[in-house]
């Protein structure tokens, strides 16, 4: 009884210690997953998934997608595939895919900075998909209007239960450009509000200075 209690305490403290120690990216290296961008959907056409080696914005040859306003039109998209041999990491239960900001795009933007402690990391915040099959699969990332202009790469995390136990990065970068035009609702609302100020002023000015003077 006493020994069972002791064992339980030891196990609990080990688990607590394990839970308390933050998971870092360094602890997961080397990358064990292979990520490949299968293709891009740009303006409804399929493009080859050839990524750029350079992460600079508007680098020559970098595949460029357009963020789209939430509407019925077809969004630009990235089709991503991943794979990992089952023997590489035992106990993998699921995979998550994230879109991550490249280093040049995170420069001078603290809200995009990488952090080795994964719980504090802001580099990979955009979730492409969760709960994907553990060793092999694919997913599509549709670029909606909230995606900022930046160069991105794709990262996959393998989850062993609740903790991350493996990862992989895509070997190149692609770019997303922001929405071209403002939606009509924004323009309409703005012009409507712009209208009131001068009208109120004109009414009072006429009332006081012109009508008031003639009386």
């Amino acid at each position: 009884m006493a020994s069972a209690a002791l064992l339980a305490t030891l196990a609990l403290s080990t688990l607590c210690a394990a839970a308390a120690a933050p998971v870092t990216l360094t602890s997961l290296t080397p990358a064990k997953m292979t990520i490949s961008v299968t293709s891009f959907m740009v303006e409804g056409h399929k493009m080859a998934g050839k990524l750029s080696k350079s992460a600079d914005l508007d680098a020559p040859g970098i595949p460029t997608l357009q963020a789209t306003v939430n509407s019925n039109t077809e969004k630009d998209a990235v089709l991503v595939g991943y794979s990992m041999p089952p023997a590489a990491v035992p106990g993998v239960t699921s995979t998550s895919l994230y879109a991550c900001y490249s280093k040049p795009s995170a420069y001078d933007r603290p809200w995009r900075q990488a952090n080795d402690i994964l719980s504090k990391d802001k580099q990979c915040q955009i979730v492409i998909a969760n709960g994907l099959p553990p060793h092999q699969g694919n997913a599509t990332w549709e670029i909606d209007e909230n995606v900022p202009q930046a160069t991105y790469f794709v990262r996959a995390y393998s989850l062993c239960g609740q903790t991350r136990c493996a990862f992989g990065n895509s070997t190149g970068f692609f770019q997303v450009n922001p929405i071209h035009n403002l939606p009509k609702e924004v323009i309409g609302a703005t012009i409507g509000v712009m209208f009131f100020g001068p009208v109120v002023l004109t009414v009072f000015f006429l009332k006081d200075r012109v009508i008031g003077k003639t009386r």
Binding site: D108, R109, P178, L182, V200, D208
Partner: protein, 540 residues
């Protein structure tokens, strides 16, 4: 007499019309501030005044807490965002000078009307910005609305008597300035609220329509319900001949040739013009590693402290003014500015400790914002004829100082700039600059009838000599200078208690004040005999 209290009874010149709900002086300016009253014209003007100024500060600095979202949405670089912060302040320089003339010519009501109604479309226009050029231009144009400060101080000086003008100016100024702090909290909340129904990249655009609408609402209230002067509206008074039409060029000349204005502008440049609101949030982010929201909230405390610190400076200025006259007011400016500089330097020196940084931040707010309040306790006395212009020029000096400070200490980023200065070193050197300016800025503050920091008054010079000298001999021949005679008489309170006690013309406290030239008639007061035998005394 405390400046802020519920006045139950008061003595007033029996010749004055009893239409006012507050005690008034010979110029019909209120002698007290009743904060929880909306009585017309004084207190309603007071509250609409600070509201109008508050909303302009809120919209001018509305972009600051949303910068990460805006930078992501229109792809701004950090130095472009910094530059926009500088041009916001730079845009106000010319606007403030022009607004002084507009106030003198059209009156504060229409000055607010023009400003708020014409900047409302500009604030709304921020929703249509799609690149860095549009963003910088928009922020410059929105920065013009900060000229509301001139109207604010001018209107308050017109409505409140010399003995409470420092307190009144500083309360409306402080509560208005606090808009810069409130916006750091309110704008993110509005954006987050709208982001529940719209994508975030559009939510911030809709968020700017809210302050734009508030501009129009407050402009409507001012135009519909407020009054330019205690005696009525500008155009009515000019029509009936009770007020001479302003001569803008002559008044601008009178303002520019008054050397005291330059000293006050320098003091204001290095108390208000520091624009620490802009610099603090990035400092907390980079030096202490806070996230954007926490850094913004901590930085907002500096702006919010305007609610109490600026009025504290004005109240101190009035208290010292009552006791020691104008010399007391000038000492308050000097001590506040010097101690403010020391606090800012110490804040930079203690950059390793968050606790000490916050302590010196609060001290800096107290002294610097207090100095802002006390500077505008002196400004109304610099000129009677060109009050609006002097308000405008001093505040323009504040804006110029802001641009200079931002450019020297806070513009450059490691990636883009001629030199690299660590932010805590920026604070350290800025504090030294403030102390230096305290010495040279206060030096020109000398009034011949009242004295200066170290010098006493010139014997034989009166307030009438000073205020009448603002009019040309030709204008004096026409009698235009007499418009300043009531103010000159009221401003004798700036002689200080000691001189006033020796002056039979202007008794110190508690007596009826007659108009200049009239005989002093004291109304005899029946003594109340308090005893139990009311019937025997004939009191039934």
């Amino acid at each position: 007499m405390a400046p802020v209290k519920q006045v139950k009874s008061y003595e007033q010149d029996p010749d004055l019309p009893t239409k006012f709900s507050v005690p008034v002086d010979t110029e019909h300016k209120s002698k007290t501030i009743r904060l929880f009253s909306l009585c017309r014209p004084h207190m309603l003007a007071f509250h609409l005044n600070w509201l109008g100024f508050f909303i302009t500060f809120l919209s001018a600095y509305a972009a600051a807490p949303l910068i990460p979202v805006i930078r992501d949405s229109i792809h701004l670089y950090q130095f472009e965002a910094n530059l926009a912060g500088v041009v916001t302040t730079a845009g106000t320089v010319v606007a403030r000078i022009a607004m002084g003339s507009i106030c003198d010519f059209f009156g504060p009501r229409y000055a607010y009307g023009f400003l708020l109604c014409l900047t409302a479309p500009v604030v709304a226009g921020m929703a249509l910005v799609t690149d860095h050029i549009g963003y910088i231009v928009e922020r410059m144009l929105i920065g013009w609305s900060l000229a509301a400060f001139v109207i604010c101080q001018f209107w308050s000086s017109m409505m409140f008597s010399p003995n409470v003008v420092g307190t009144a100016n500083s309360i409306v100024g402080g509560w208005g300035n606090a808009g810069g702090g409130v916006t750091q909290i309110v704008m993110p909340y509005i954006t987050v609220g709208i982001a529940k129904y719209q994508p975030e990249t559009l939510a911030w655009r809709y968020a700017f329509l809210v302050p734009a609408c508030c501009h129009v609402v407050i402009a409507f209230l001012i135009l519909a319900f407020a009054q330019d002067l205690p005696d009525g509206q500008y155009n009515h008074l000019e029509k009936s001949g009770k007020k001479a039409k302003a001569n803008p060029l002559r008044e601008l000349a009178a303002g520019l040739t008054n050397y005291r204005m330059y000293g006050l502008a320098a003091c204001y440049a290095y108390s208000f013009g520091l624009a620490l609101d802009n610099a603090l949030a990035p400092y907390f982010e980079k030096n202490f590693g806070f996230n954007i929201t926490d850094a913004g909230n901590l930085a907002a405390t500096f702006g919010m402290l305007n609610f109490v610190c600026r009025p504290a400076g004005g109240i101190m200025s009035d208290l010292m003014g009552r006791r020691y006259g104008m010399r007391g007011r000038i000492w308050v400016v000097f001590i506040g500015l010097a101690l403010g500089g020391v606090s800012v330097s110490l804040m930079g020196v203690c950059h390793n400790s968050l606790g000490l940084t916050m302590f010196f931040l609060v001290l800096s707010a107290l002294f610097l914002e207090g100095t802002c309040g006390s500077v505008y306790g002196v400004v109304p006395f610099v000129s009677r004829r060109s009050t609006g212009i002097v308000c405008g020029l001093v505040s323009a000096g504040g804006a110029i100082g802001g641009v200079m400070n931002q450019a020297i200490f806070f513009l450059n980023t490691p990636a883009h700039g001629a030199y690299v200065l660590q932010q805590y070193d920026s604070f350290k050197w800025m504090g030294c600059a403030i102390v230096f300016v305290a010495c040279i800025g206060v030096a020109p503050l000398y009034f011949p009838m009242w004295g200066g920091l170290f010098c006493g008054p010139k014997p034989g010079v009166t307030e009438e000599d000073y205020y009448f000298s603002e009019y040309t001999p030709a204008e004096r021949e026409q009698g235009l200078h007499l418009a300043a005679s009531n103010f000159a008489f009221e401003s004798r309170s700036m002689r200080g208690m000691k001189r006033l006690a020796a002056d039979p013309m202007f008794p110190a406290t508690g007596h009826t004040v007659a108009k200049p030239g009239a005989e002093i008639v004291k109304t005899p007061v029946e003594p109340k005999v308090a005893n139990g035998n009311g019937a025997a005394n004939g009191n039934v």
